[in-house]
């Protein structure tokens, strides 16, 4: 059972409130929640088709908020970026892989037009 607060937080990845961060961290023990969070993160990243400066900034903030919730312990950053890199905007990918401190080869997968197709990844 996922706490309602944690489920609600999944809809606010674009602007998490401080209590959302706490709710997500507490819910990470649940495999079901981790899958739902992974889906939400991917959907959020894919949905930004034309990022402005704040969107790119937001990617870095989200990476660090997820780090505080131990998300990257369950989903290794390199695997995550490899799984979704071809589906997100190239600038979003650059911001994501930079924030995750991944080597340069992970920054060249992104697309430059509107994304299409279904995410191809597997939740931890």
């Amino acid at each position: 059972m996922i706490a309602p607060e944690a489920s609600e937080a999944l809809h606010r990845l674009h602007y998490l409130r401080p209590e959302d961060e706490d709710s997500i961290a507490e819910a990470m023990v649940s495999r079901k929640f981790r899958r739902a969070l992974t889906d939400a993160v991917v959907n959020y990243l894919v949905s930004i088709a034309s990022p402005d400066g704040v969107d790119l900034d937001r990617v870095s903030v989200l990476v660090h908020q997820l780090n505080a919730a131990q998300f990257w312990n369950y989903y290794p950053p390199a695997e995550f970026v490899t799984a979704i890199g071809s589906q997100i905007h190239s600038e979003m990918l650059f911001a994501l892989s930079s924030a995750l401190k991944l080597p340069a080869q992970y920054r060249v997968l992104g697309i430059t037009s509107d994304p299409s197709g279904q995410p191809q990844y597997s939740a931890a």
Partner: protein
């Protein structure tokens, strides 16, 4: 105050860690304020009203980010994240981060827009209400000014102390750099 003290307090002034888009280099938030005795007291009165249960004020901060940054001179600035129409060059509203609700004509003004000629700054982040604790937090949630090498909790604590000096009492919530 000599620069060395400012460096120690808030960290050195450095360029942003991420990209600054054209809009953010040309536009300043319309409702930007420098933190001083007057603006700090005004801000704190609003934040306190939220903490005391004024939901009509809380809804604004639940939906739209309140940004802060400390510039090279050690001055703190705060502003709501705004949306500007890039075609008309006019303020369009407050930031709409939700990808499902945005208007493609709009771009948002993030932290770099709060800095006048030089986009360098010491530290920045957001001021956000913690609904469970009913307390206001100051965070380093800025991809460009919050997670750079060397940025530490003590710099955020110093920023919180600067705000407190002018009124707002904010709890530091620091996220360590990856």
């Amino acid at each position: 105050m000599p620069d060395v003290s400012l460096d120690d307090l808030y960290g050195p002034s450095r360029p942003p860690a991420g990209e600054v888009k054209l809009l953010e280099s040309r536009v300043r938030p319309a409702y930007l304020r420098r933190l001083d005795g007057e603006s700090g007291a005004q801000l704190w009165s609003v934040l306190q009203a939220v903490a005391q249960g004024l939901e009509t004020a809380r809804v604004v901060f639940d939906l739209y980010p309140l940004l802060w940054v400390i510039d090279a001179n050690g001055d703190a600035w705060f502003a709501m994240e705004e949306c500007w129409d890039v075609q008309t060059g006019r303020l369009a509203g407050l930031s709409q981060r939700d990808p499902g609700l945005r208007d493609p004509r709009w771009e948002k003004t993030g932290h770099p827009a709060m800095l006048m000629d030089d986009p360098s700054a010491r530290i920045g982040g957001e001021i956000a209400f913690h609904g469970r604790h009913r307390a206001w937090m100051i965070t380093n949630a800025s991809g460009r000014y919050g997670y750079r090498p060397g940025t530490a909790l003590r710099h955020l604590e110093a920023a919180a102390a600067l705000f407190a000096l002018h009124g707002p009492r904010l709890r530091p919530k620091f996220a360590a750099m990856l």
